[in-house]
C-alpha cells in the first residue's frame, strides 16, 4: 500500500489522463461485448483473445515494415471474417442454448486461440513501435504518449461510426430488430442467422481495432486475453446493455480505477485488482437487486 500518489497532484493528473485514455479503449471492446450479448444472448469469454489476435495482426504488419497504425483498417477487416467463421463453426450451435454452454464453449475457443497464437507469434511480450513521440504537459511533469491519444481518438471515431451505421443502415436496423425480438424479426422476413453472423463479425472487427490500438499503446502476449474479457464484461454489467454513453463513462471509470490501483497497490496486483473489482461489482449488484426483491414482497 502506498498512498504517496495523493500527495503529488501531478502524479494524479498523469494517472487520470492515462486512465481515461485507456478507458476509452476498454469501452470499445465492451461495446462489442454489449452488442453480441444483447443481440445473441451470448457471453464470449474469447473476447479478449480476439482482441489479442487483432493486435498480432497489426504487429505482423509492423514486422513486415508497414506502419502498425494501418492495422486499425486492416485488422478489423480480417477479424470480421474470423468472427463470421467462428460463428459458422461453433457459435451458431450455442446461440439459443443455456448461457453456461456458451460460456464453456467460448472458454474452449479461448484456449485454442491462446495456444495457436503462442505457436505462431511466440511467448514473448511484444509491442509495435508507432514512433509517434510524446506530448509534454504542465512544464514536462506530465507525459502522454501520442499513441495513446491517437488510440483514444480512433476508438471514438469508430464507435461513432458504428452508432450511425446501426441507426441508418439496413443491416443495423435488422440487428436492432433481432435484439428486440428475434422471433418477430424472423416472421417479418429478417434472416436472423445472417444477422447473428454479422453481429459476431462486427464484434470481432471491433476487437480487431482495439487490438491494433493495444499493439501500439500497450503490450501483447498470447495469454493476456482474459483480463480484457473480464474488463469488458464488467463495463457491460455496470453500464447495461445498449447504453452507449454509459459504456463510455464506465470504461473510463475502469481505466481510472486501474491506474490508481497500479500506483497504490503496486503493479503486481493490477490484474488481481481488476478481478477483485469484478467480484465486488457482482456482489454489490446482487445485494442491490435482493433489496429490490424484498421491497416487492
Amino acid at each position: 500500500m502506498d498512498f504517496l500518489i495523493f500527495k503529488a497532484p501531478m502524479l494524479m493528473v498523469q494517472a487520470s489522463l492515462d486512465g481515461i485514455l485507456l478507458g476509452i479503449l476498454f469501452a470499445l471492446i465492451a461495446y462489442g461485448m454489449a452488442l453480441q450479448w444483447g443481440v445473441m444472448n451470448i457471453i464470449n469469454i474469447a473476447q479478449g483473445d480476439l482482441v489479442i489476435l487483432g493486435g498480432y495482426i497489426a504487429y505482423t504488419m509492423y514486422l513486415a515494415g508497414i506502419h502498425p497504425a494501418w492495422g486499425v483498417i486492416v485488422s478489423p477487416i480480417i477479424m470480421y471474417f474470423v468472427g463470421v467463421l467462428l460463428y459458422k463453426l461453433v457459435i451458431n450451435k450455442v446461440v439459443d442454448r443455456d448461457l453456461f454452454i456458451s460460456i464453456l464453449a467460448t472458454f474452449g475457443i479461448a484456449i485454442v486461440f491462446q495456444q495457436l497464437m503462442n505457436f505462431v507469434f511466440g511467448a514473448d511480450v511484444v509491442v509495435a513501435q508507432s514512433e509517434y513521440g510524446t506530448t509534454m504537459l504542465f512544464d514536462n511533469s506530465v507525459t502522454l504518449p501520442n499513441s495513446k491519444i491517437f488510440s483514444a481518438f480512433i476508438s471514438v471515431l469508430y464507435a461513432v461510426a458504428l452508432v450511425v451505421y446501426m441507426k441508418k443502415s439496413r443491416l443495423g436496423r435488422a440487428i436492432r430488430a433481432t435484439a428486440q425480438n428475434a422471433r418477430a424479426a424472423k416472421i417479418l422476413g429478417v434472416d436472423t442467422e445472417k444477422v447473428y453472423a454479422a453481429t459476431f463479425g462486427i464484434n470481432a472487427a471491433l476487437c480487431g481495432i482495439a487490438g491494433a490500438l493495444i499493439s501500439i499503446t500497450l503490450t501483447l502476449h498470447p495469454y493476456v486475453g482474459l483480463p480484457y474479457t473480464v474488463r469488458s464484461f464488467m463495463i457491460v454489467i455496470v453500464a447495461g446493455l445498449g447504453n452507449l454513453p454509459a459504456v463510455a463513462i464506465s470504461g473510463m471509470g475502469l481505466g481510472l480505477f486501474e491506474e490508481f490501483a497500479d500506483y497504490i497497490l503496486g503493479t503486481e496486483f493490477r490484474i488481481g485488482a481488476v478481478f477483485m473489482l469484478l467480484v465486488f461489482i457482482l456482489v454489490y449488484r446482487r445485494f442491490k437487486l435482493s433489496k429490490k426483491r424484498e421491497y416487492l414482497k
Binding site: I103, G108, Q115, G266, F287
Partner: protein, 354 residues
C-alpha cells in the same frame, strides 16, 4: 432388492481391492494413479455444485489452491520460520525429521480441509446470491484473482514459487513416497465417494435438485435455499481443500498461477470431467474423470505442444455436441437400467411424432 444390494457389494469391494492393489500392480504409474484419485474427487465435488445444484462454478479451484498453500505453509510453519524457508527456496537450510514431516502434513491437511470450508461459508452468502452466468463469471474472477494475489504475497514465495517440504530423507525406500501419497489420495477418494453417495440418498440432494430446477419455487415451498446452497458449497470446499493439500505434497512445488490456482488446467478439467461423464449422476464424474485421465495421459505425449489446442477443441466438442455426457447418453439408450419405467406405447407415439 436384496439381489441388487449384493451386486453393489461385489462391485464396491472389487473396486476397493483394485484400488488397494493398483500401486503394486502398476508400480510405475503411482503418480498417475494419485492424479486420477484427485481428479475424481474434484469432479465429484464439482458435480455437487454444477450438476446437482445447478450453480456452474469455475471457482472451486480457489479452495483447491487455498488447501495447497495452507498444507505447505502449516507443514513448514509448525517447525521453521516460514519467511526464511520461502526465501531460501526451502530444502537447504531446514530439514524436516520423519516425525515432523508426518505431523506437519497431518495438521496441514486438517487446516486445509477446515479453512476452505469456512471461507466458502463466509463468501457464500454474497456469491451464491448471484444467479446463472453471473455466478459462473464471478467465480471465474475469484479463482483468477486469488492466483494473481497469491503471486504477489512475499511470505508464500510470491512469483518465484514455494517448495513444499521434501519427503523425509531417512526413509530410503523410493517407493514409499509414491505409495504414501497414493494411499492418502485413495483414502480421500473413498471418503468423498461415501459422503457423496450418502448425500445422493438423502433429502439434501432433493433440495439441491429443487434449487437447480426452480429456485424461486423452492423458496416459495418454504425451503431456505441460501442455507442449503452454502452448505453444499462448504462440502465441496472441504474436499477440494484436501485434494489440493495432497497435490501440493505430491508435486513438491507450488506456483501461484500454474499449480495452485490453475484455472487454465485443473479449474477447467473438473468442469469438463463432470460434463463428460454426465452431470447430476453419482457415477458420471467418476467415469468422466477416469476416461479423461486416460485420454490425457495417452494422448498428451503424442501431441506434445498441441495439447492445449486439443483440450480447447475437446471442450468445444463435448459442450456443444455432448452436453448430457456419457451417463446421459446411456440413460437415453437404456432407460430400463436406470430404473425408469417406459410406457412402450408412449414411446412409439413420441417416435412417430418426430
Amino acid at each position: 432388492m436384496g439381489n441388487i444390494k449384493q451386486k453393489d457389494l461385489i462391485l464396491y469391494s472389487g473396486l476397493i481391492i483394485l484400488g488397494l492393489a493398483a500401486p503394486y500392480l502398476f508400480s510405475a504409474f503411482k503418480v498417475q494413479l494419485t492424479y486420477l484419485c484427485v481428479l475424481i474427487v474434484l469432479a465429484m465435488t464439482w458435480n455437487l455444485q454444477g450438476g446437482e445444484m445447478g450453480y456452474n462454478t469455475f471457482g472451486n479451484i480457489l479452495f483447491y489452491g487455498l488447501g495447497m498453500y495452507l498444507t505447505a505453509s502449516v507443514q513448514v510453519g509448525m517447525f521453521f520460520p516460514l519467511a526464511e524457508w520461502t526465501e531460501s527456496g526451502g530444502e537447504k537450510t531446514f530439514v524436516h525429521t520423519t516425525a515432523q514431516y508426518f505431523q506437519g502434513i497431518g495438521v496441514g491437511l486438517l487446516v486445509a480441509a477446515i479453512v476452505p470450508a469456512i471461507v466458502a461459508g463466509a463468501i457464500g452468502y454474497a456469491i451464491l446470491g448471484l444467479r446463472g452466468h453471473y455466478f459462473a463469471i464471478c467465480t471465474l474472477g475469484l479463482g483468477i484473482a486469488a492466483g494473481e494475489i497469491a503471486g504477489g504475497i512475499e511470505i508464500i514465495g510470491a512469483g518465484q514459487g514455494f517448495t513444499t517440504p521434501p519427503f523425509p530423507a531417512e526413509i530410503v525406500d523410493n517407493e514409499a513416497r509414491g505409495k504414501f501419497f497414493y494411499f492418502l489420495s485413495f483414502a480421500l477418494l473413498i471418503g468423498t465417494f461415501v459422503f457423496v453417495k450418502y448425500i445422493y440418498g438423502s433429502r439434501f440432494r432433493l433440495i439441491l435438485n429443487a434449487i437447480r430446477d426452480n429456485e424461486d419455487k423452492a423458496e416459495a415451498m418454504g425451503i431456505q435455499t441460501m442455507k442449503y446452497k452454502i452448505t453444499g458449497w462448504m462440502c465441496s470446499a472441504f474436499f477440494c481443500g484436501l485434494a489440493g493439500g495432497i497435490m501440493g505434497g505430491l508435486i513438491g512445488y507450488i506456483d501461484s498461477t500454474d499449480v495452485a490456482f490453475d484455472g487454465r488446467e485443473m479449474g477447467v478439467f473438473m468442469v469438463l470431467m463432470a460434463i463428460l461423464g454426465g452431470k447430476g449422476t453419482l457415477w458420471g464424474p467418476v467415469i468422466g474423470a477416469t476416461l479423461f485421465h486416460f485420454f490425457k495421459e495417452g494422448l498428451w505425449t503424442f501431441i506434445l505442444g498441441w495439447q492445449y489446442v486439443a483440450l480447447g477443441v475437446l471442450i468445444v466438442v463435448i459442450v456443444v455436441y455432448f452436453p448430457e455426457g456419457l451417463m446421459g447418453w446411456l440413460r437415453e439408450k437404456y432407460p430400463e437400467r436406470f430404473g425408469e419405467v417406459i410406457d412402450e406405447k408412449d414411446r412409439k407415439a413420441q417416435v412417430e411424432l418426430k
